[in-house]
Subunit: 228 residues, 2 copies
Amino acid sequence: MTVHRHFDKELSLLKEKLLTMASLAESMIHKAVKSLMERNQGLSEQVNAEEKKLNLLEIEIDDLCLKLLALKQPMAKDLRLITSAMRIDSELERIGDMAVNITQSVAVLIKQPQLKPYIDIPRMADLAQKVVRDSLDSFIKQDVKLARSVLARDDEIDALKDQIFRELLTFMISDPSSIQRALELILISRHLERIGDHATNIAENVIYLVQGKDIRHHIEEVEPRRHR
Amino acid sequence: MTVHRHFDKELSLLKEKLLTMASLAESMIHKAVKSLMERNQGLSEQVNAEEKKLNLLEIEIDDLCLKLLALKQPMAKDLRLITSAMRIDSELERIGDMAVNITQSVAVLIKQPQLKPYIDIPRMADLAQKVVRDSLDSFIKQDVKLARSVLARDDEIDALKDQIFRELLTFMISDPSSIQRALELILISRHLERIGDHATNIAENVIYLVQGKDIRHHIEEVEPRRHR
């Protein structure tokens, strides 16, 4: 009894740490894009500082998972929960990397005049933040419906990325002086798209965890998903 | 005694399956870039077919790992070996995704006249294949030195990516009709670079596995590594 109660406490701690990671990742996406919108280098620096915290959390969570696996020897569902947590923390860490990558493009962009009003990029960023949050919530609540909604919204993010690409291509062709800035904006849209892919990976993991079937590759009616 | 021998046999099977995944991933990189060089769409189709095999192998390996964790309740080193295998198969699967992404750019490129002779892209592809193979070999042989050499060569791949970017930027600026092809070549170089990043992740995992210390983030003298 005491052993079980202790184990439950450690699982709660694990979930709490994953939620902290997700909040941090969300905040990094928000600040990275705000840094572009407000041409504010200081916000980019905050993102870089936060990445270090995110990395430490990943290590803490992995250590906790290994400890739980070794000491508690969990079976079935708990085992899958813990191995999922080890995958999810690595997805969240990569989301942080993408936010840092965005700040690198922002650094180039805010040294030059703004190419165009930014409309689709903040929309993509909002969507990206929401799917990150919802993918984690779906894990915590074991909510397959919410996890599936992440998959659907990732398709919207992909469509925005394609739209941004086409628009910037016409900018580049009509005005070669816009090429470098357009390229950086294309890169930002791709980083945001990859954030959506990482949230999708988390959501697919949740569906697997709850339903015990693997939807990562073709097994269901969903289109095969790739990390583009 | 028999239990141990059986466990060793299952660990060997696990390693074998990971090596099969790595060979397949290598072959996909090779064919994707050969498809560009030889303007041969058929090779791209082979890559797409091979991705399905890679995905199935990932699921098989995950299932085997979960089975080993649940039934054998391994301790310490074996536990870390198995959780590492679950990370490594997912890196290899993503390497396959990158090869598929390359074929998507190739499909666009081979419909148009070749923009320039390709020199750096096949060099990047060779390097990428080698780091994939060596990262897996370092896992199988538990060879930290080999794992560290992967980290060093990933820096070469990154440098080539920057060189390709700069060169293609000048193409785009001097000739707007080159923009679309140049963009696709930039994307290919980024996919190859990400393959290097995935191999780096595998190598870092090996160093952690052997030395029991986490070098993923700052803990050693190495530069923090990101998934760009």
